[in-house]
């Protein structure tokens, strides 16, 4: 029994670790793919080379981020089976098809057109190349659609029947499964989060280069575009997050109780706890700072509306309060900090000094990784908040794991930790190195040494005398600037 618990805990840590790591990459590449499509579209429409330069600048970064997303994503597609085989067997008939649709409609689309997007500009021409970029961007979105549908179904399962063998079977309507109650909210909230994540990364890179040279036109363009996103999308995101919260209150009230730190019911208006230290043993929040009745106002739009607390939920159906309480607050704090940056940039724009505000640029630089932190915090809130269930209300996490011995899972967890920190740490370092270079006119795309699938017009290295034999030409450095 104890062995089993150990293996279960290790499997949970492994899944949390690999999915958290993986989530960073699509959170960035969903937004970046769309940004690249916008840049290329603007270039085609206006003919301004600054957009093409920025496209090529970010394309190099996209190539690395996408590769990291792909390899960490394949791990996820197999981990359902390796570590959660009971879940896979029982839920496969319902969520398996949705994931198959993700592969068929999204993964192939992204991967099929990625080669042309990265290497094919000279081969297929501008318009077809733009089409390929759009397909990659569309693929990232469609992928989010399906995987969030699966995740939402696990949070708010509908449209299924129970089979005699204990399996979850699809009911008569797939629509009820795909468009389960929390899905529309989660999709909008997550996709906007991905856009904001990218916007703040782009904004930070622009800000960094503006701090070094406020006249750099490429840095100006990317900073301005990112700040429009911050100013416009952040308020929309806060609104969408609020709607998502109300939806959660309806379908997963225990999660909202944990987010709010409401151990006790409040029959006459619940306070909003700003800060405090939840103590699950004593079932109370210590040292709390609270605003009376505000929680009822936010969640019920009525100061005196009664709100139930965790005292109405049996102990064995309660999520861990501390983690959910804190991760939720981190997400909210970052959201409002993002809003602050957006408003600050609007003020700078009105005064015509957007590129001449070093403190705004420093703040934007500091906020560069904020999207990743917010996405992760939000993810932890929703995933830990639905515990102890893997399929909410019907299948417990503890009953879903594979029959593996603890040493096997411990070994694989250790391997994942070592490999991920090394490989993705180095990848992030390469991305940061690329970001550290100032964007400039005549920017290179994804260049591959002196030979390769891309051939920039006019750049043809002389032929070697003994092709393929002993090399006389050293491999050109990929970033060698020939223009």
């Amino acid at each position: 029994m104890f062995d089993n618990l150990d293996a279960l805990l290790l499997a949970r840590i492994q899944f949390a670790f690999t999915v958290s790591f993986h989530f960073f990459f699509p959170a960035f590449s969903i937004g970046l793919a769309s940004y690249l499509a916008v840049l290329e579209g603007l270039w085609l429409k206006t003919g301004k080379s600054v957009y093409l330069d920025l496209f090529k600048y970010w394309l190099k970064i996209f190539a690395i981020a996408f590769a990291m997303g792909v390899v960490s994503g394949i791990v996820m597609s197999y981990q359902f089976g390796t570590n959660w085989s009971v879940f896979s067997d029982l839920a496969g008939p319902v969520i398996g098809p949705l994931m198959a649709y993700e592969v068929l409609t999204a993964f192939f689309l992204e991967a099929g057109f990625l080669g042309v997007m990265l290497f094919g500009m000279e081969k297929v021409g501008k318009k077809l190349h733009f089409a390929a970029t759009l397909m990659v961007a569309l693929g990232t979105f469609v992928s989010a659609f399906w995987i969030l549908s699966v995740n939402s179904w696990m949070q708010t399962p509908t449209g299924f029947e129970m089979g005699a063998n204990g399996q979850f079977l699809p009911g008569p309507s797939w629509w009820d499964i795909v468009f389960n109650p929390s899905f529309p909210y989660r999709l909008v909230h997550t996709v906007m989060a991905a856009y904001l994540t990218t916007a703040f990364v782009v904004g930070a890179v622009g800000a960094w280069h503006l701090l070094k040279d406020k006249a750099n036109p490429h840095a100006r363009t990317m900073f301005s575009m990112a700040m429009w996103m911050a100013a416009i999308v952040t308020p929309m995101q806060i609104f969408a997050g609020d709607m998502h919260g109300l939806n959660t209150l309806e379908h997963q009230p225990a999660k909202v109780m944990a987010m709010e730190g409401h151990f006790d019911s409040h029959p006459e208006g619940a306070p909003l706890i700003l800060f405090g230290i939840p103590d699950s043993e004593a079932k109370t929040v210590r040292y709390k700072i609270e605003i009376p009745k505000l929680s009822s106002l936010i969640l019920k739009h009525d100061l005196n509306a009664p709100l139930a607390g965790l005292d109405t939920i049996p102990d064995d159906r309660e999520p861990p309060v501390g983690v959910v309480f804190w991760s939720f607050r981190i997400m909210i704090a970052i959201g409002f900090a993002m809003l602050g940056i957006g408003l600050w940039s609007l003020w700078g724009r009105v005064r015509g000094r957007l590129y001449d505000m070093p403190w705004l640029h420093r703040a934007a630089l500091l906020m560069g990784p904020s999207g990743f932190a917010a996405v992760l915090a939000g993810w932890i809130t929703t995933e830990v908040g639905r515990q102890p269930f893997v399929i909410y209300g019907v299948l417990r996490t503890a009953d879903a794991a594979s029959p593996l011995a603890a040493p096997a899972v411990a070994a694989s967890l250790l391997a994942f930790v070592l490999v991920y920190f090394t490989v993705f740490g180095i990848g992030v370092w390469y991305v940061l190195k690329l970001m550290g270079k100032a964007p400039h006119a005549g920017e290179y795309g994804v260049k591959r040494g002196d030979v390769g699938p891309i051939r920039t017009a006019g750049i043809t290295p002389g032929p070697t005398q003994n092709p393929g034999g002993k090399d006389t030409l050293p491999a050109a450095k990929p970033e060698k600037e020939l223009v």
Binding site: V71, I74, S77, D89, L104, F107, P403, G452, P467, D471
Partner: protein, 331 residues
């Protein structure tokens, strides 16, 4: 024909597409150290840089498809081969990022070249051993794997692992014969001959081992009337193997590659004959593991609509990057 059989064929097709397409990518990785630093390696890698990601997606379809269409098989096979699956995934991590990283960091290019090689080798070996572990049979109790965590490690699975490594090296080297020219092509030809012989020998060994492995497998091949239907499989395989060796010797361009694919196709068909109707021998048939009809129909609609499109735009991407990878990229 019932839906379950259709789905068995769809999954088999996805696995075949993966084995052939990522097979030549992984094969190039396995052979990578034999290519000279610089031009040779750059050209070998550039010949697959635009397509490897699409190729690898078939692995996700194979796994995701199995999860969706035969969830019980997915839930039994993966825990049964747990260390192999983890090794494969980590191998693919190194292989995949090496495509980007080696160009980003000239000072550590040798390291990433080694990661490309090691990742490809580990992934190929693990895939072959997973296949072997499946064929040799998996202990099941109720709806779950009931064996121990090293049951998959036997001489037989080592043999299937080596066979897969050799086969991928054959696919990779014949692909390079097609896509390269000059000295690198000559080197690919040299390697292809050796890989071809190793593949043929190991395929033969695995086939004989299969017949010895259990009586039911043997009866699929040796009892009448089955023997009349299946006898052409080894005969055609032998003919293809000989023509492939001749095509390599005669310095044909793309023919060795296509014949290598044909060899893989027959190998998979042979495995199909051996294992059918089981998806997890010795106990679970495809009908035991199949998802309910509603799931099968829902996905079949998706496959019918998307698969022609996927094949079309994949073919287009290959067409865009057609021709030899020469000094200055694709001609």
């Amino acid at each position: 024909m019932d839906l379950t059989v259709i789905w068995a064929f769809i999954i088999a097709f996805a696995i075949f597409a993966y084995v052939v397409m990522d097979g030549f990518d992984l094969g190039i990785g396995i052979l990578f150290p034999t290519f000279r630093v610089g031009q040779g390696r750059n050209r070998a890698m550039n010949s697959i840089a635009p397509v490897w990601d699409g190729n690898e997606t078939w692995l996700v379809l194979g796994g995701g498809g199995l999860f969706a269409a035969f969830p019980l098989a997915y839930a039994v096979i993966l825990p049964a081969t747990y260390p192999l699956v983890i090794a494969m995934l980590l191998g693919l991590v190194f292989r995949g990022v090496a495509f980007e990283y080696r160009w980003r960091d000239a000072a550590h290019q040798n390291f990433w070249d080694f990661a490309f090689f090691g990742g490809s080798l580990v992934a190929a070996m693990a895939q072959g051993m997973i296949l072997g572990a499946l064929l040799q049979g998996i202990d099941v109790e109720g709806r779950a794997y009931s064996g121990r965590w090293l049951d998959w490690l036997t001489p037989y699975t080592l043999l299937t692992g080596l066979g897969t490594v050799a086969g991928y090296a054959l696919l990779g080297s014949t692909w390079l014969i097609w896509k390269l020219d000059g000295g690198v092509q000559r080197h690919a030809r040299y390697v292809a001959r050796r890989a071809a012989i190793a593949t043929i020998v190991l395929m033969g060994a695995v086939s004989l081992y299969n017949i010895a492995l259990n009586a039911e497998y043997a009866s699929h091949w040796l009892s009448a009337p089955e023997i009349y239907y299946v006898a052409p499989v080894p005969i055609i395989t032998a003919i293809i193997a000989i023509s492939m060796l001749r095509a390599i010797t005669k310095e044909r361009n793309s023919k060795p590659f296509w014949l290598a694919i044909a060899l893989f196709f027959l190998g998979m068909a042979g495995l199909g004959v051996t294992i059918f109707p089981y998806v997890v021998p010795p106990g679970i048939t495809i009908w035991d593991a199949a998802a309910p009809e509603r799931s099968q129909i829902f996905m079949l609609v998706g496959v019918a609509i998307t698969m022609p499109l996927i094949i079309a735009y994949t073919a287009w991407a290959y067409w865009v990057f057609r021709g030899k990878v020469g000094e200055d990229g694709y001609h």
